[in-house]
Symmetry: C2
Subunit: 345 residues, 2 copies
DNA sequence: TGTTAGCACTCACCCCAGGAGAGTGCTAAA
DNA sequence: TTTAGCACTCTCCTGGGGTGAGTGCTAACA
């Protein structure tokens, strides 16, 4: 059933008001504060209908109404108007990208920080995922007799490197043969397909084909070069404490204990890689402790591959339109910057 | 003035009790719970003396006593008995060091985690500081026409690396000449003496001595290889919320906002590098927001150089003896492990 | 028929008073 | 010097009354 224009209008006003005040909103407040031209009584009737339809909830009889999850969903999907960024905000974001020689990790960490200060919520940023990139080139540089530097270049232009222990008995010549072989064998594979099974296979092939290679070739397996767990950067975790819905220490405790579980967060953000913008409201997040929270995520990419996620977590009562604009703008900037630096094909 | 044995005994009991209960402790409680052989009235008199001497405080007349900062200090320096670790705890710590091929960053991150779960407080760990290490060797490996990998080896055996943009006009031969020169010039210097001034000097020398070098040699300056800000790893930040003294959201907010300032924390931990064990109580920490907190730190080292700090932050009412034992044990383990891997001189 | 005014009712919140409990300081006796 | 007794203090808890915001319902109005 389609909502009448007036119901939509009232619902929108209620949700905006609640987002601002965090207090249940009553009919009188709306009639007074917004000049809609209806009396409190009329609004009361409409609110009653909206509650029946599941868009609003009443904490207890004789208190104002609060948006339900369904209400927020409808608001986000149909009612909300996106805000524009102020010049100040735009400048603030641009500043991240001002310096030329920044490392990508720093870029991302700063994005997280700015994101949280602009929105006043907590930001979560997933660093670039190499998993979906394709292997392009592997090099080994011996440092001394015991150590060597392994460098991997992906088709998205990322360079990953790691120090490994070198088996003593390999000569430089032999080492380069191994590298050459590995290159020919791996090129073009996406990194998440480099399972330990595949690496074991390759190891066997190596041992058969080159008689100087023995069981010590654990080079790639042991060095967890490919499995570098993707870091999650947090910003503004303290902002949670400003939200009136989290003035209860127990609620805070729950949320913080989840925020400490990096693997859980990175899963959450990895899932979000599939949509360029995603808004997950309340119980739609599958984590029990986050029932009172919403998560807005957007992806940044190199070429047309989404390789990382930027997100903002706040109470379900969060300022969706503001956050969506900010998150969208930052990801766009970040993507275009990454495309400048990497992927010059 | 030296305290009488009985005063010491009573002070110790009061502090232990307060550490456990977080409630002001009264004379009756002590007489009942500990069989010291004195009546409440006697204890009351002694408590009154101890208050006069500044070791105890009274939140208000007619409530029990609470240790003052001076009281804690005396307790830590003279009264406290160190606890032994249980077998379970030792196992838990050993487990960090079980796997052979772990990266040092992972080792340290895990230490932070275990530290916080064993103590139930918040742990702060400062990653290895290259600043005090001496420069030993620099290498540059060209990756392609635009990028090269710079690798620096320190005398403590650490290897740091970074990707830089290469000035186009340099041939491989010329590049190696530059590297050779840099090596001869830098060897033996500790890294914190590589100021931007010195680097500028070297750049000038290079330009004069090798005519193919021009102003594009910003290699080392731009790549902030040496200034990599030292990461601070946190563990168990949510543990703060379990402490009854921090049930007030405003206090929590203050503490968390400080914990977000990585640079401030790393300063704090860098200072602590000078003592192998340090206990900073309450206002002795120079940060206003941490007045109700204490910080216990210990350093880990390679050779005899302290290169990093491990710390635990909790309320001033924290279980000092427990924390000191745990922190001490972990740093010892970490140091010996690092000495195995690095510094094979 | 939709809208509005009026009214009784509900519920959270604040404030206050009074009682219980834990602890103290002081005095006097052992 | 230690201890028992006692009056006193202060926090914390509890319950009651008042206030204010808000609702639902009914009846009147356009």
């Amino acid at each position: 059933m389609e909502l009448s224009e007036r119901k939509k209008q009232i619902l929108q006003v209620i949700i905006s008001e609640y987002i601002k005040s965090a207090e249940p909103v009553g009919s009188r407040t709306i009639a007074r504060r917004y000049n809609l031209g209806y009396s409190p009584a009329t609004i009361r009737n409409e609110m009653s209908d909206l509650e029946e339809l599941g868009y609003l909830e009443q904490p207890h009889t004789s208190s104002g109404r609060v948006p339900s999850q369904k209400g927020y969903r409808f608001y986000v999907d149909s009612l909300m108007k996106l805000k524009n960024l102020s010049g100040k905000e735009i400048k603030r974001i641009q500043k991240i990208f001002d310096f030329k020689m920044k490392e990508i990790d720093q870029l991302i960490q700063q994005s997280a920080k700015v994101l949280s200060t602009l929105t006043h919520y907590t930001s979560l940023v997933l660093g670039p995922q190499l998993q979906k990139s394709a292997f392009e080139n592997l090099k080994i540089f011996p440092l001394d007799n015991e150590k060597a530097l392994v460098v991997i270049v992906t088709d998205t232009g990322f360079v990953e490197n790691k120090i490994i222990e070198l088996p003593q008995m390999l000569s430089t010549d032999e080492l380069f043969k191994v590298v050459e072989y590995l290159n020919s064998r791996l090129r073009g594979l996406t990194i998440d397909r480099l399972t330990s099974g595949l690496i074991k296979d390759i190891k066997m092939e190596l041992i058969h084909q080159m008689d100087f290679v023995d069981r010590y070739i654990n080079l790639l397996e042991e060095s967890s070069l490919f499995q570098r767990e993707s870091r999650v950067y947090l910003g503004g975790t303290a902002n949670i404490l400003n939200q009136p819905e989290f003035k209860d220490v127990n609620k805070i405790k729950k949320i913080f204990s989840i925020l400490e579980e990096e693997s859980l967060l990175s899963n959450l953000l990895e899932e979000a890689l599939s949509d360029s913008l995603r808004v997950v409201i309340g119980e739609e997040i599958q984590i029990e402790e986050f029932q009172d929270c919403s998560l807005i995520t957007a992806t940044y990419s190199v070429g047309d591959k989404a390789i990382g996620t930027i997100g903002v977590m706040g109470p379900t009562r969060m300022d969706y339109s503001k956050v969506i604009t900010v998150v969208g703008y930052i990801t766009k900037q970040l993507s275009s910057r990454l495309n400048e630096v990497y992927k010059k094909s």
